[in-house]
Structures are given as structure tokens and as C-alpha cells.
Symmetry: D2
Subunit: 199 residues, 4 copies
């Protein structure tokens, strides 16, 4: 059987991610970098649930490779967070209950909060000091998607559920890593030296 859906899905996903990334506000990116650089000698806690949590963990690994003092909510070694520490919370909808609850606790102890979400007016977005809006499959995209699928005779979405938000957030954060490498004068070699040995 031909795998035409596969090829269309690749195009749909890459197209959706490109569209999402091109809509990111550069001023929001710059401010996130500023806050990250201000947090070099603070603790950084990554919060996320489900596939957004996996994107957060992938970013956490790279922050560690860059020498940041970073932790992931829910893992064994997650220390106390307090005033001036930084929380980065990732949630497409901005309403994921456990992520919002965790961010609320962070706010109570006066941690700073950056939210990566499609919805700046969501519970999570409103809690945060700074929001970077990363679009997922927007309503427009969904209509366009529907239209394209009509033409193509495809009845499935080309990127189900939160796929576009998740991959866009991952590419966004990995691109931020390159900017941070540049700002901090870190080389790939130095990052490699901090990479886990036992794996």
C-alpha cells in the first residue's frame, strides 16, 4: 500500500511548524533570553505535562549542557525553589491543571515564571511574568487544514492533537539554545563535555 498520507503528514507538520515559528514575536524571544541570562546563578525548574513535558525535558538537557542549574518537576532530584528562581512552564492550552497548580505554588514562593503557550490569556499565561506565544494548530490552520484535506481527499488531520504546538515549541527552544551558546560563548565541545557519560 502506498504511504501517501505519510508524505502529506510530513509536509503538514513541517508547514505547520514553520507557520507557527514565523509568528513568534521576536521581542518575546529577546525577553526570554534576558530572563534566562539573569537566572544563570539561580535555579531553573521546568514544568510540563504529557508531550509538552517531554519538550521541556529536551530543553532542560540542553540548559544543563550550557551549564545552567536546571531541574524538572516530578523527577527525583528537584530541590526547593524560592524567590528569584525561574520556572519555565510549557502548555499549549495554558490550562493543563497540574502545570497550572505547580506554577501557582511557584508564584506563592515568589519564583519568576515564563510560560510557553498558545494562549497568553489562559490561566498559565496570566500567572506568568513573561509569555512566549507559540501557536499550535490555530482555528485558521484547522480550517485551512480542513480545506486542504477536502482537496486532497484526506479525512484525517495532518497533525493530530497538540503535535504542531509540541514540535514548534521544541524547535523554538532548540533555536534559543543556539542563541544562548552565542551569548555565553559556549562551544559544542564544552556542551559535549557536560553530556551524560553513562547511557
Amino acid at each position: 500500500m502506498a504511504i501517501t498520507k505519510f508524505n502529506r503528514a510530513v509536509e503538514g507538520i513541517i508547514g505547520g511548524v514553520l507557520s507557527s515559528l514565523s509568528s513568534i514575536d521576536e521581542a518575546q524571544v529577546e525577553k526570554m533570553i534576558d530572563i534566562l541570562l539573569e537566572s544563570r546563578d539561580k535555579r531553573i525548574l521546568i514544568i510540563g505535562v504529557g508531550r509538552s513535558g517531554l519538550v521541556g525535558k529536551a530543553f532542560a538537557m540542553r540548559l544543563m549542557h550550557l551549564g545552567f542549574n536546571v531541574y524538572v518537576m516530578g523527577e527525583t532530584i528537584t530541590p526547593a525553589i524560592g524567590k528569584g528562581d525561574l520556572i519555565i512552564a510549557i502548555s499549549g492550552s495554558g490550562t493543563t491543571k497540574l502545570a497550572v497548580t505547580a506554577a501557582e505554588i511557584g508564584k506563592e514562593v515568589n519564583a519568576r515564571i515564563i510560560a510557553i503557550t498558545s494562549f497568553p490569556d489562559s490561566d498559565l499565561g496570566k500567572l506568568a511574568e513573561h509569555v512566549v506565544v507559540v501557536r499550535g494548530r490555530t482555528k485558521l490552520a484547522r480550517e485551512k487544514d480542513y480545506f486542504l484535506r477536502q482537496i486532497m481527499g484526506v479525512h484525517e488531520p495532518l497533525a493530530p492533537l497538540g503535535t504542531i504546538f509540541e514540535i514548534s515549541a521544541l524547535v523554538f527552544l532548540d533555536s534559543l539554545v543556539v542563541e544562548l551558546m552565542h551569548r555565553l560563548g559556549e562551544t559544542e565541545e564544552e556542551m559535549k563535555n557536560r553530556h551524560a557519560t553513562i547511557e
Copy 2:
């Protein structure tokens, strides 16, 4: 400070991922789909370490949403695997020690093994019944990257370490999910109903 490195990194990553995906052999994709469909009433175990492990977990969630009986090595609920069960192992280099050791144990109990790797001749590749080659930052890409960076005056790589392999593998597997939805007649609604409630 301007964030030009960020924008170049976005382009570098998306470009690298597109290049990687366009080099995937369709026959290898088809065979992977065939094996997955043959494994519908078997156990599927996802193996991966580090960021490749996170990509594996993201795929595992979607396989669960599609109704597969899927597990992740190293998590609490990982049952016995035996003859005819399927292991999907993800490793860019194909040499990650813990992934290779796990695949070897799988081979001893006569599980089937699919490897997602850049190197079909690696230890992992050679163990597998079937390999899907997903290219990372190839030597050529690294030279081109170096050349581009010379022109652009950028001294950092545009996608450090395994970034291109990891994101390419994620987009590849998410596209596979769309093909599987089609083959299995699964809708986004049905997938949503299987999605974790408590999060």
C-alpha cells in the same frame, strides 16, 4: 541585542530536518508500518536514552492513543517481553550502550526489533530485523554547515549535538502516526478519548 542567531538557528534546524526527512527511504517506512500493524495484539516496547528516549516517549503516547499495547523501558509499568513482541529502539549513533544492551536482551527472548538510527551498520542497526535510517547532521551537512557559518560569520553550529536527528525522528514518527490513523480508521476524537485524563 538582536537575536539573529536565533533566526538562523530556526532556519538551520528546519532545513536540516527537511533534508533528513526527504532522504528517508519510503520502502523502509512501509515495512515499519507493516510490522507495527502485525504487532497490534502484541506488546511494543520503546527503547531510547537521553533526548532520543524523549522522542520515543512522545511516539509511545501516540501509539497508546491509537490503541496499541505500548510500554517504555525504564518506567514503572514495563511488563515481560517475549517472542513476537516488538521493540522499537531509537539511537542516532546506534551505539548508545544501554540501548544496545537492552536490544540485545530483547533479541535473546526473540522479540522483533526495529531500529531508528542514522547508522544501519551500527551495533544497534545490525541487531535489528528492520532499520529506518533517519539522517542527523551528516558529514556533508557538517561541511555545508561550516561553509554557511563562514559566510554568515557564525561560529556556532546551527543545531548542536544530536538536534537534527532527534527532531527529524520526532517528525518522522508523528507522520507515521497519521498514516497509522488512516490505515486503522482511527479518528482524532477516538485518540482524544484515550488521552490521559488526569494532568
Copy 3:
């Protein structure tokens, strides 16, 4: 240097655990077994944070070895939970925010809830259909501990933080496993066959 504190701590911990276990109400144990047996063809979700979460995971592994359909909150393969499914939530204080929030969501979808806690009147205790009270270092114990330490000239507690609750909950749940083996006619051999192969 002599390791006298070590030996006293062993005695302190074992003594505290024995005292905690002997105070468990048998009727509460029986009802928990009844609910577990009623949930054999349902989904069971284990909820816990920190060291209580680790105790929950240790129990989850054994429930899997006994053939139950069990999952752990926060892991990759955690499916939708609904009406009639069972949540087992573990929290010494019964106030751990993320555990309580998760149990609340479970209640909204009409899952059954068993709480393992020292405080039946806590937020978690009040949410639950059934509570098994497992005592930690009680106020009395703390005073006795203080008194003993005065006599012994030890200034550190013999079991810091939640240690007594956590180990007592673990021994309680492992003893429940033996009762369940008996009720279900499961042998150690059958449990071994369900044990993870790749490790």
C-alpha cells in the same frame, strides 16, 4: 568513628514502622482488598509525589505482576481514567497539592478513590471513598522520640521527615500483595513471568 547513630536509627525506624503497622485498622485493610478485587477488570491509577510516589510505584510494579491493569500518574503510558476506574493516592500529610489536585480531577470523572494517609480528615482523605490510615511519626512518637534522644544523647531524629510513613506504607502495601496473591491464587512463579524482561 563508631557508627552508633546508624544502629539506633535502624532500631528507631523498625520500631516506628512496627508501631505504625500495628495501629492499622484491619477493617480498612479488608475494604481496600475488596475494592482492589472489584477493580480487576478496571484501570488502576497510582498517584503520589516524592518518596510517597516511589512507594506507589513499588506497589504498582507488584500489582502488574499480579495481572492488574495498573498505571502511574506522570509516566508516559497513562491512559484516560473514567467512571468506575480506581485511583490509589498516597500522601502522609494528605495535603500534597499535586496529589490532591490529581485526585480532584479523578473525582470529577467519577473514578473511585482510595487514600493511604496519616490524616483521614485531610483534603485527600475527605475526597476519598475509602481511607487506610497509616501513621507516620505521630506527635506522640515525636515526643517519645525527643525523650529517647534526650536519654541517648542523640540530637537528630531517628527517622527524619516522612521516613516512618513512607516505609510503613511500603510494608503495608507489600503485605497486601501477599494477601492478594492468596485471594487470586497467584504464585510467585506466575508473578516472575510477568516481571520486566529487559533490565
Copy 4:
């Protein structure tokens, strides 16, 4: 239905754990404390699979509460380990493949290795600089267990699979924590301050 098996299992487990703990060699404990204190400004990596891994995580949390620089294999934030860093590997049998492989890699990079195992002559035991022997259900215990069960008319073991080793290792390590508190002059209050805030 009466829950007599439950009560016998409690006695069987506590009895087995007490017997295991009383057989621990104090000189081995002292040397482990010495090595831990020598590793205060080094990295400590905890290695363990399955329920032994959970015991390791519970210990890792307490080492963090005591101010140690500790990590857990397989989690997101696990940095490079090198010469002079400390690995603590937990495996009842001392043969768990992934734990042994991980310890081997640690040995290659000249990390120090402590093994917690029932079998000092196992692959893991032989790799280690120092072994603390923690007995599980020994052959003798198994015979005694069989004998007791004959008398009691119980056909199930009172502590299936690795239960005795796992709980004994946990009580051993938690008692070590009290000794370390004493040696380091750490109070419960200080440990509480390092405890995760967001949970």
C-alpha cells in the same frame, strides 16, 4: 473474609528485614560513610533498575536534602560523570544487566563504585571498589520460609520476589542518612529547607 495472610506477611517482611539488617557488617557501613563524606564535593550517581531503582531514588532524595550533589541514572538532569565521582549501584542479585553495563561505563571513566547487593561475588560486586552486603531472602530464609508456611498452612511466600532485599536496602540507606546527619551536623530543619517546594 479474614485477612490472616496480611498479618503473617507483615510479620514475615519485618522479620526478614530485621534478620537482613542484623547481618550487615558494620565495617562495610563505616567504609561507605567514609566514601560518601569524601564525595561531598564530587558528583554522586545512583544506579538501579526496577524496585531497586526506586530504593535508590528514595536515597537520592535524602542525599539531596543533606546537600550532596546527587543524580539518578535515566533521569533528565544527569550530567557527565568522571574520575573521582561516586556511583552507588543497587541490585539484589548483582547481575541486573543494565545496572552492570552502567557500572562498567562508570569504571571506564574512573568513577568510584559502591555496590549494595546480596552477592559480593556477582558481576556488580566484582566491579565495585566497595560492597555493602544486604541479604535478601537467602536460601536459608527460603527454607525457613517454606517450613513456616508448612506449619501455617500458607502456600505463598510471605515476601515474594526481591521484597526483603528491597525494603532492607531502604531501611539500611535511611539509617545511613541519620548517621550522615550526625556527622555533617545537619538538622531536620535544614533538610526540610532543601526539600522540593512544588509538589
